[in-house]
């Protein structure tokens, strides 16, 4: 008979070691999958590491994945702290991409101001998209897990509509995407890689700023109180609605920035939703969860997930493993992390 005794004040060391054990368990289960695929798991892991962190070209791939993950992840830490389960990072990212595309292709903004306008537009669009779910939750008590998830599909359909219809490029020979952005609406990259450094810098700055906001500002304190006990917050005179709205604008806005980075840095046009993002909005949930709601820790967890995503590509290329292996990997990891939550908050006792 197993019994779970709740721990009232969880020590930080317990969080750390339970998380590490969860990661080890995830690596072990994923290892079984490798064995089933006929590959030695140790060889697979070492190939992953050699292809990603051993040299600059490997790192460039890691950073390319880490940039959007970091931006969305830090935004999501705030949502986690406010107990607002935003599964809509993907849709908010797409809205950011749409805004960037609209600004780049159809507004007469001076080239010098173009990048700034795209980022501002992207953040606003992503933020408002998240605000929609927040409004539904506050006013109509619509579960935000469902609304944010469903809004992803609406966002994807919006992109498909735009690139098929009014925004369809004139030089694309029937393919469905927009024309290329003008050169001044393309993000500068590090050397000849696809790493747009402005998004990386933005992500890092946001991680530090939000860490300060959460820990040291009144707004951050209010947000934490709302997350931990909404009734108490209300009793203390905190406006829960306005806290949730501000949080939604930030979490959605950060995802919107990531969307701007993807289309302005890599694709240079608006294209099919599945190709714009490759699931960053969902993977970022793991980034935020691993960081246990600490924005600054995302600076570690985002590159970690970047290694896993880029490593999956390495496995695909070097060991010819099926391309779904990366999805299995991150899925197993998220499962283990979520399951570990129970061991963080409870002590396990055997016997009666």
């Amino acid at each position: 008979m197993i019994r779970f005794d709740p721990i009232s004040d969880v020590p930080r060391s317990r969080v750390v070691w339970v998380t590490l054990v969860a990661l080890l368990v995830a690596l072990f289960i994923a290892g079984l999958v490798f064995v089933a695929a006929g590959t030695n798991p140790l060889e697979a892991y070492s190939t992953m590491l050699r292809g990603t962190v051993a040299d600059w070209s490997g790192w460039s791939e890691v950073l390319r994945r880490a940039a959007p993950l970091l931006l969305i992840g830090v935004g999501l830490t705030l949502a986690i702290r406010a107990q607002f389960f935003n599964i809509g990072g993907e849709g908010q990212l797409l809205l950011g991409a749409v805004a960037a595309g609209g600004v780049a292709l159809f507004t007469p903004i001076a080239p010098a101001l173009m990048m700034v306008a795209m980022f501002v537009g992207g953040a606003l669009a992503g933020g408002l998209w998240a605000l929609l779910a927040a409004f539904l939750r506050v006013r109509l008590r619509v579960n935000e897990i469902l609304s944010t998830l469903m809004l992803n599909y609406v966002a994807a359909s919006l992109v498909v509509y735009l690139i098929n219809g009014p925004w369809k490029g004139e030089k694309v020979r029937g393919f469905i995407y927009t024309d290329d952005f003008p050169a001044y609406a393309q993000l500068p990259t590090l050397g000849d890689t696809q790493v747009g450094w402005p998004t990386l810098v933005l992500g890092a700055a946001l991680a530090v700023a939000l860490q300060w906001f959460l820990g040291r500002s009144t707004g951050g304190f209010e947000l934490r109180v709302v997350g931990e006990n909404a009734a108490a917050a209300r009793y203390a005179g905190i406006s829960v609605a306005s806290v949730i709205y501000r949080m939604a604008l930030i979490t959605g806005g950060a995802a919107g920035l990531a969307g701007v980075g993807e289309v302005a840095g890599i694709h240079h046009k608006l294209l099919e939703p599945g190709q714009i993002s490759s699931g960053y909005g969902f993977t970022a949930v793991i980034v935020a969860w691993l960081a246990r709601g600490n924005p600054a820790l995302c600076l570690v967890t985002a590159p970690l997930m970047g290694i896993i995503l880029a490593g999956g590509d390495v496995l695909k290329i070097n060991m010819n493993l099926p391309f779904r292996i990366t999805d299995v990997f991150s899925g197993v990891m998220l499962m283990c992390l979520i399951a570990s939550e129970v061991f963080v908050k409870n002590r396990v006792r055997w016997g009666r």
Partner: protein
């Protein structure tokens, strides 16, 4: 004096030996060719066919070493190419139209590597293009479809409304109308190369709208399976799909990418193709080169079950009634032999009545690759059609 002569002889000998050694080295050296695929190798369609081509080339060329990457999204070919170059690939085949700009960028970035891009139209000194095109086979299958349709309503599942698909769809419709002047081809677009779920939906919708023959251009066997489930005649696409629906696959289009891969790689190996002379190398291989084949299965042009029906169906050729079966066999033989018949011989009007190919003219490869109009007899929305 004697000493200097002997040292000269030694030098000459050394040089000769060194020379033969490097030559032997070149002969024995392996050539590493790498492939970037847009779908999974198990798609049973486009990517599977490329992979079969790769395997056949491996078998035929003992000095060939290969590697592949599957399911590379079209926006993300460059990072995959980076890895392959780092991995010492000397020839890289990028096998989807959407890789065009990334391949061109990579060709500039890696001038010492040879690139070959499928289905595109941009080339560079170290980047060739190649395509095994089906338009002739689509015409033949159109004749078959026209002969088999009782309702005069034939379904076509299209991927992207780009020139390649418009060419195939139009050739198919021209064939349908030649065998059955009252028949129409209804088209639905997926806007995806590989999407079994959408293919099923589109196929079922076309059948529900009355189609009694179906052709799907998507990269999986889903179209064939969906048609098979409703007992509707259908066509194999890229690979033999007869086994997925043995009683309903009539004929189809089968590709042999190995013909192109073996030819190209042999010329790279012999030194005929270098990183300097590919700007005008464009493989546009059709029935006459054996790069494509009409058939339900390899070497089986027709499913025997449908032969009596095709023999009974009559069409008018030059004012005389001919059986559709005989016509298809004759045209197939003529095109395989490199004869002068071409489905796109004028006069051909587009579906809004504008003359596109004047009488007696044949469309050039450039025209075929930039085709934006579609032939009469096609119903349904087609993006990017020229205005009247």
């Amino acid at each position: 004096m004697k000493k200097s002569i002997s040292s000269l002889i030694t030098l000459a000998l050394t040089l000769t030996v060194a020379g033969t050694m490097t030559q032997a080295g070149a002969q024995g050296a392996k050539l590493k060719a790498c492939f970037i695929y847009v779908g999974p190798t198990g798609d049973i369609g486009w990517t599977y066919a490329h992979d079969q081509g790769r395997l056949a080339a491996m078998k035929a060329l003992p000095w060939l070493e290969t590697k592949y990457v599957e399911s590379v999204p079209e926006g993300q070919a460059l990072p995959a190419i980076d890895k392959l170059v780092k991995d010492d690939c000397k020839v890289i085949f990028t096998t989807s139209f959407g890789y065009m700009d990334d391949t061109l960028a990579a060709a500039k970035k890696y001038p010492e590597v040879i690139f070959a891009h499928a289905a595109g139209f941009k080339r560079a000194p170290n980047m060739a293009t190649f395509m095994a095109d089906f338009y002739q086979v689509y015409y033949l299958n159109g004749l078959v479809a026209g002969a088999l349709s009782k309702s005069g309503n034939i379904g076509f599942v299209g991927t992207y409304p780009i020139p390649e698909l418009k060419r195939h769809l139009s050739a198919f419709a021209l064939g349908v109308r030649a065998a059955n002047p009252k028949a129409n081809v209804n088209v639905k677009w997926l806007n995806s190369w590989f999407d079994p779920a959408k293919t099923r939906e589109a196929s079922e919708a076309l059948i529900a709208e009355g189609a009694d023959v179906l052709s799907s251009a998507e990269d999986s066997a889903t179209g064939v399976q969906t048609a098979g489930a409703k007992n509707i005649p259908t066509f194999t696409h890229y690979n033999p799909m007869l086994k997925f629906s043995p009683t309903d696959v009539v004929s189809g289009h089968i590709v042999h990418w190995d013909k192109i891969y073996i030819d190209f790689l042999s010329k790279v190996h012999s030194g005929a193709y270098t990183t300097k002379n590919l700007a005008n190398v464009d493989y546009w291989w059709l029935l006459s080169k054996g790069a494509v084949e009409m058939g339900a299965d390899m070497g089986m042009p027709f499913n025997a079950k449908f032969v009596p029906q095709l023999k009974a169906a009559k069409m008018m050729v030059g004012g005389k009634p001919v059986s559709v079966y005989d016509r298809v066999v004759a045209l197939n033989a003529e095109m395989v032999a490199g004869g002068k018949f071409d489905p796109f011989t004028g006069p051909i009007k587009d579906r809004s009545g504008v003359l596109r190919v004047p009488a007696g003219k044949v469309m050039s490869i450039g025209d075929l690759n930039g085709m934006i109009w579609v032939a009469p007899g096609i119903n349904g929305q087609v993006a990017d059609e020229p205005k009247k």
